[in-house]
Amino acid sequence: MSEPTFQDTVFQLKQYWATRGCIIQEPYDLEVGAGTMAPETFLRVLGPQPYRVAYVQPSRRPADGRYGENPNRLYKHQQLQVILKPSPADVMDQYLGSLAAIGIDLRKHDIKFEEDNWEAPTLGAWGIGWQVMLDGLEITQFTYFQQCGGIDLDLVPAELTYGLERLVAFIQNVESVYDIEWAPGVPYRDVRFEDERQFSIYNFELADVPTLWTLFDLHEKECQRLLTEFKKRHCVLPAYDQALKCSHIFNLLDSRGAISVTERVGVIARVRKLALGVAEMWMTPEEAA
């Protein structure tokens, strides 16, 4: 087997960014919709402290599940998330270097940076950037963050989000993500298929809507309570966990078709309010609280 495995590519990317000053973190241990939502990004990009980090973040998007039957769509996909804060002047060259590092000879391929300005309304976050197209395939979202939690950023971080399944399927030249070789002799299917199938059943059919609404309310209350407690005890990270829980439950409700378009705006506003509260608290020095 001449092509690198899924895990080889992950190792190579982590190694590449480690040598460029990134802390290699492990995934955040809560359900998130994207690597951006992990506190390593959402909170660390705030404030004047430089920071460099890279981590794989399994990202759950319940509505994207296809019971393991679609070759390209997954309920949970793996993102390799890189934050370079502040963004260095040669950030694009560094990014292209990472592709070379995983064996893509750019001389033999076509790379385009197409405008794509990222925005996450539930996080009060947005940035300017591109989707990176490799031979017509979107492999990375490249964003210069401008605002997070509704706060203008002191230093502008570059966020690189690699869609690992797509990227590796491309490198290994397979048609279906399930045919990716994860480890030598072990296909992606063996590692993840059941995960996709069972969670599709739960997300689309079995998740109990009243229970989810109750959970949403409970986590929201807990987050709000911590935000209020903040004056006495500095407890930002646990509050953020509660906000993340709300965000994930919102996604579940959405995939159950339980949120009408009208309600949607309202629920997004509720999650956003929590995220904005957390960001504000993070930016407030402890002694001032």
Binding site: N70, P71, N72, P86, S87, A89, M92, L96, L106, R107, K108, H109, D110, I111, K112, F113, E114, E115, N117, G127, I128, W130, L134, D135, G136, L137, Y144, Q146, D152, L153, D154, L155, V156, F170, N173, E175, S260, V261, T262, V265
Partner: protein, 643 residues
């Protein structure tokens, strides 16, 4: 000495659609700089690629010419103390001041000589401001809060006047004489001069000239897409790929949308206009020696087409009609309810407009495709997908075509629906949107028009006029009436080429029937160049003024016995004689009578009964023609005499 000039703003990839405007601004701003600073010279070219905005000029003076300016100081009456202060401010002594007489009295003055600055210094001050003045719809900062904003980070600058670098910096980037080539193919350190700049870039795989890049792409039968791609690439090269002919069973609309909008590929057709299982992609590189780029693009397209096929098959499991209920859960607009409710209103409106069974059926099913997977994935295809599904689901051809067309016209240039059924459905859909939104106060403001009301209104106007539909704007409130009047005026003036005063004049005579309005406009436009028209229009203006001044608007009959023999009788007879005949055949005879009347007859006669009768005569004349147009709105060369 006169010198060549080069400015290159090196950036990260600028969105293609913003580049033409940025280049145009660079041109204008630099011309303005040359004019303001009196440096002379002419712009020889402005070029732009995704990674650079470039202006080149020739004949720029190395030094600004000296200038002389007369500065007025305090009034002479303020005394010698004031003169001393003024002299000090001017950097001179009081004995060098002069005295200037102005209409407001005598003033101390000083003829200030300014030595021209070296061009390099001026440019060094002006260029950073110029660059940051280029407007982009959405900008970013990249050097930390409060730093410079531009469309994307500026990474290098080349600024040369002759052989000399114009020294300035923006966001920590120093201007120099070194540019960068193509990201993968070229050198990243290319020293250039004003002479060899374009050549050096070309040898580093950057084609600076937009038209040259277009040539490399070839029009491929789609110039819009070719232009987009020419602004997305620095070294465009086409490659051809293929796909499985089995996908050709999917509708061409779906395949083309995937290729064009999602992948920016050109589709390929045979001589009969049928799609072939081929596509052309534009690479931003010089070649594809191992076929990797082609294979990669084919792979992506295959996945996309497989998705589309999957959506198509899934969607057929639930016919359009069975999706009506689901529309209750699709919001049209928060304050206007669901698409189900909208559908009910549109069906009723189609009925009210006299639509037959087919149009009512089409209106009923028109929005059902919003719940299909295909439209969720390819939103541009709404309506089109509904039409295609209706066809395969056995709906009448009139019905499926009407659904297919009901979003048309998509732009001012786009086609209106091709069938009568389609026009009535499209019209009712748009009119319902307008009436509903205006009823709850959702009006477009400034550049904001999220619901596309301007486009809907333009669509209404075009369908009614160009489709010859009987339509009287039912249920319009005052705000919508104003809005529509505006759109109608714009349409006839800007898109149909009628003069603005003709449009005003004809609209003042009513616009409840746009087809009639159009024919009146055509009549007025046709008689306008005839020699009698403008004078008679001027007379109408005069009549209107007279009536307004007299506050006279009684609609009564002229009393023939009160008419004075001569011009007044003659005018009356002429009006009687021409009654019922079209305007075109009357003005030639009427004009001299009107002129003579105003020449010889005093409207404001001392006798009240006579005066009233004369005003009545004029009012009747005015009214008779005002069904076509209010001719007093016509702007004439003839001077209007004061009465």
């Amino acid at each position: 000495m006169s010198l060549p000039f080069l400015l290159e703003i090196g950036t990260e990839e600028i969105p293609d659609w913003m580049i033409p405007s940025a280049a145009k601004q660079l041109d204008e701003l630099f011309q303005d700089l040359l004019d303001r600073t009196r440096l002379g010279g002419t712009i020889s070219s402005v070029d732009a690629t995704p990674r650079r905005l470039v202006v080149r000029a020739q004949g720029i003076s190395d030094r600004q010419p000296d200038s002389e300016e007369l500065v007025l100081g305090p009034p002479k009456s303020a005394g010698p103390g004031a003169a001393t202060g003024f002299a000090r401010k001017m950097g001179t002594t009081p004995d060098r001041l002069s005295t200037e007489s102005t209409p407001r009295g005598e003033y101390f003055a000083f003829k200030k000589h300014s030595k021209g600055q070296p061009a390099t210094e001026i440019l060094a001050t002006e260029l950073p401001q110029l660059i940051l003045k280029i407007y982009f719809p959405k900008t970013m900062y990249w050097n930390g809060k409060g730093s410079e904003r531009f469309i994307r980070p500026i990474r290098w600058l080349v600024a040369l006047l002759g052989d000399a670098i114009v020294p300035f910096s923006i966001a920590g980037v120093e201007a120099g004489s070194v540019t960068r080539g193509h990201r993968q193919l070229g050198s990243q350190h290319i020293p250039v001069t004003t002479e060899n700049y374009a050549e050096q870039l070309r040898s580093s795989f950057v084609e600076l000239n937009f038209d040259e890049r277009l040539l490399r792409i070839g029009s491929q039968g789609d110039l819009d897409l070719a232009r987009t791609l020419a602004y997305m690439t620095e070294w465009p090269t086409p490659i051809e790929g293929t796909f499985d002919a089995g996908f050709l069973t999917l509708p061409a609309e779906v395949l083309t949308t995937v290729m064009r909008h999602h992948q920016r590929y050109f589709s390929v057709k045979d001589a009969h206009g049928n799609l072939l299982p081929r596509f052309v992609a534009i690479m931003n590189t010089d070649s594809d020696p191992e076929g990797l780029v082609r294979r990669g693009n084919e792979r992506v397209l295959r996945a996309r087409f497989n998705d589309a096929r999957f959506f198509w098959e899934q969607d057929q499991k639930k016919p359009l009609e069975d999706r009506l209920e689901d529309l209750k859960h699709v919001t049209f607009q928060a304050r206007l309810g669901s698409f189900f409710q909208k559908t009910e209103r549109v069906v009723a409106l189609v009925k009210e407009l006299g639509g037959d069974q087919n149009s009512q059926r089409a209106a009923l099913l028109a929005k059902c495709d919003l719940t299909t997977d295909m439209v969720k994935e390819f939103t541009d295809l709404q309506g089109i997908v509904g039409g295609l599904y209706a066809r395969v689901q056995g709906e009448h051809k009139e019905v499926s075509q009407a659904i297919y067309d009901h979003y048309k016209p998509l732009s001012m240039e786009g086609e209106i629906p091709s069938t009568e059924t389609g026009r009535i459905v499209a019209l009712a859909d748009k009119w319902d949107t307008l009436v509903s939104c205006f009823n709850v106060g959702l009006l477009p403001t400034g550049s904001k028009d999220p619901l596309g009301l301007r486009r809907a209104a333009q669509g209404v106007v075009r369908i009614v006029v160009e489709g010859q539909v009987k339509f009287d704007f039912p249920g319009m409130n005052d705000a919508l009436r104003e809005f529509m009047r505006d759109r109608i005026e714009t349409y006839f003036r800007d898109h149909r080429g009628f003069a603005y005063d003709e449009v005003r004049a004809c609209m003042a005579a009513g616009w409840a029937d746009l087809v009639d309005l159009q024919s009146r406009l055509e009549r007025v436009q046709a008689i306008r160049p005839t020699p009698d028209f403008e004078p008679i229009a001027a007379s109408f203006k005069r009549i209107k003024n007279i009536l307004e001044q007299a506050k006279f608007s009684e609609r009564i009959a002229v009393l023939a016995n009160l008419l004075e023999p001569g011009p007044e009788q003659d005018l009356y007879q002429e009006i009687r004689r021409g009654e019922g005949q079209p305007l075109e055949s009357r003005i030639a005879a009427l004009r001299p009578k009107v002129d003579l009347f105003f020449d010889k007859v005093l409207v404001n006669a001392p006798d009240q009964a006579v005066r009233h009768n004369r005003l009545t005569l004029l009012l009747n004349l005015l009214n008779e023609f005002s069904e076509i147009a209010d001719f007093s709105e016509i702007v004439t060369q003839t001077n209007e005499p004061k009465n």
